[in-house]
């Protein structure tokens, strides 16, 4: 209803920052803010841990009706900021919507200049979201 999605909000927030140093600082600040929000210790399990990233990232998944919701946390600020962008942007979608998302959707954040999307683990996060959505049982 005219309200922007979290995805578009993040894309445009990053888009207005035209310098990569400033973009990195904003990710770090976001990572710092999110780190002070609660993330239950019980969520930091091995099963929730995303491997293949240079810092630890835990991804937690919930299903609300036909919508998928994700929470993420990393011990590195940069990765925590990216996990915030990714989980917020890709939460609230149906399974079909989520499965249709690709690298192009990730590229629109324009974070590749900081390191490739692969190195930052963004693609690994999206793949994890998709796998969790694909293998979860729909509620009732």
């Amino acid at each position: 209803m005219g309200t922007r999605t979290a995805y578009e909000t993040h894309v445009s927030a990053l888009d207005v920052i035209d310098d990569d140093d400033a973009r990195l600082r904003s990710i770090i600040e976001l990572g710092r803010r999110r780190q002070s929000e609660p993330f239950p210790a019980a969520w930091k399990t091995d099963a929730n841990l995303l491997h293949g990233c240079m810092a630890k990232v835990w991804i937690v998944h919930a299903v609300e009706g036909d919508r998928h919701v994700f929470h993420g946390r990393s011990d590195a600020l940069v990765v925590n900021g990216i996990a915030a962008i990714m989980t917020e942007s890709f939460s609230g979608l149906t399974r079909a919507e989520l499965l249709s998302r690709t690298l192009d959707d990730v590229r629109r954040f324009r974070l590749g200049a900081l390191a490739t999307e692969r190195q930052l683990g963004m693609m690994a996060m999206l793949k994890r979201f998709q796998k969790l959505a694909a293998t979860s049982q729909p509620e009732n």
């Binding site: 140093d21 240079m54 810092a55 630890k56 011990d75 390191a115």
Partner: protein, 411 residues
């Protein structure tokens, strides 16, 4: 060989490295990740180009001019490498893809032919995964027993701790010559003597050591010595396995295919002698030629002179980083290669590395393919700055300044 009349002229060396003409995020590069892979001098790039342009044909198979030239250059490279590490013969030099493949070759070929279930292999806590995983695989498939020698916080292997693990069941000791995390140089000669007293052979992982010091495999009396070309200013795709002639001669092939056979029928196959027995398929001969060019380049500068230069930069870097609040340097072995790992209190190594990259400073962050060592040190990861022949004081000063600035952003 502690002092050399003329110190290294680093400005001249830097002219030999084209990567220094690049700009990184608008700044000249400060490349402090040589331990992951070294940049290449023009001499290496030219040798590779020359091999492709003027002397390219498959080796060992051709009667034509190009094949002869390539074969000659490849076998000359083998000889150059033998001389570089003072092997008795070029036949003791096997070309592989990298150090990892060289260790896998020994684990698979020597491991499965000379070791029996219940035989013991000893490694240390300080090994790179390349010198752990092949032995774990041999354990799981072949039933050997793996023992792990401890290191102390400084990165020192105390020979008595190692001795306590050795027995008449010990068949092989696989040890790094220099830690890729702590820079600690290990007492290889003592380890070899001890292992030989127990009738065990020794594989030395020289991937980091050979970049910073002269290596004499006969003086060390190492049975196997492996290293990787790309860290030694050579190309990717080539590694070296040195093995004593009598050991290689008794070892079965690692892979099968062309180049490594004498005769093939559907009833039987006979294999060539070493080293070709272990080089199935078209080998990385252009890369080997490039690696030989790297060794010539380093030899012309002088290995001792390079080591002196790097040692003084390590001292400078250690002092500069120690001076920064919250920085903790890992590893303080008395003999330390120019590899400087550190942590910063309250800062994740990845965050630090990403912020340093924005300042044009290339370092490595993470576990450095040495998870067991990280666990032993009680840390999740570290930042590693490593020094090479082209590193200068300005690089170190840029690192220290960037670390100070990063601390302000990240704390």
């Amino acid at each position: 060989m502690a002092s050399h009349a003329e110190p290294l002229d680093v400005a001249r060396v830097r002219d030999d490295f084209p990567f220094l003409d690049e700009m990184v995020h608008g700044r000249p590069p400060v490349y402090l990740d040589t331990a992951a892979s070294a940049q290449k001098p023009r001499a290496v790039i030219a040798a590779i180009r020359d091999a492709y342009e003027h002397g390219y044909g498959n080796v060992h198979r051709a009667v034509h001019h190009f094949g002869h030239r390539a074969t000659e250059a490849y076998e000359t490279a083998r000889n150059d490498i033998a001389l570089f590490i003072n092997a008795q013969s070029a036949d003791e030099i096997v070309f592989t893809r990298n150090a990892t493949e060289a260790i896998n070759l020994v684990a698979a070929s020597y491991g499965r032919s000379a070791l029996r279930a219940g035989d013991e292999v000893v490694v240390t806590e300080m090994e790179h995964h390349a010198n752990i995983v092949p032995w774990l695989m041999l354990r799981d498939r072949h039933g050997i027993v793996l023992r792990v020698a401890p290191v102390d916080d400084r990165g020192i292997i105390h020979i008595e701790n190692l001795a306590a693990l050795l027995s008449d069941r010990t068949r092989l000791v696989a040890v790094t010559h220099c830690s890729n995390v702590l820079g600690a140089v290990t007492p290889v000669r003592d380890i070899v003597r001890l292992a030989h007293d127990h009738g065990a052979v020794v594989l030395v992982d020289g991937s980091q050591a050979i970049v910073h010091q002269a290596v004499d495999v006969r003086d060390l009396d190492a049975d196997f010595y492996v290293f990787t070309g790309h860290k030694l200013y050579g190309p990717t795709g080539v590694g070296v396995l040195f093995g004593k002639g009598n050991l290689l001669a008794a070892m079965p092939p690692y892979q099968g295919g062309g180049e490594m056979i004498e005769r093939v029928s559907f009833d039987m196959v006979t294999f060539k002698d070493p080293p070709h027995r272990f080089e199935a398929g078209t080998p990385p001969f252009v890369q080997a030629i490039g690696l030989a060019a790297a060794l010539r380049y380093l030899t012309a500068i002088g290995i001792g002179r390079i080591a002196d230069h790097e040692r003084s930069l390590l001292t400078h870097a250690t002092a500069a980083l120690e001076d920064i609040d919250g920085v903790r340097i890992l590893g303080s072995a008395p003999e330390k290669a120019p590899i400087l790992s550190f942590t910063m209190d309250g800062v994740h190594p990845l965050d630090l590395a990403v912020v340093l990259d924005r300042a044009g400073v290339a370092v490595r962050a993470g576990q450095h393919c040495a998870e067991p060592l990280m666990r032993r040190l009680g840390i999740d990861g570290a930042v590693r700055a490593s020094i090479g022949v082209y590193t200068n004081r300005a690089d170190i000063d840029a690192l220290a300044a960037a670390v100070r600035r990063a601390r302000k952003v990240l704390i």
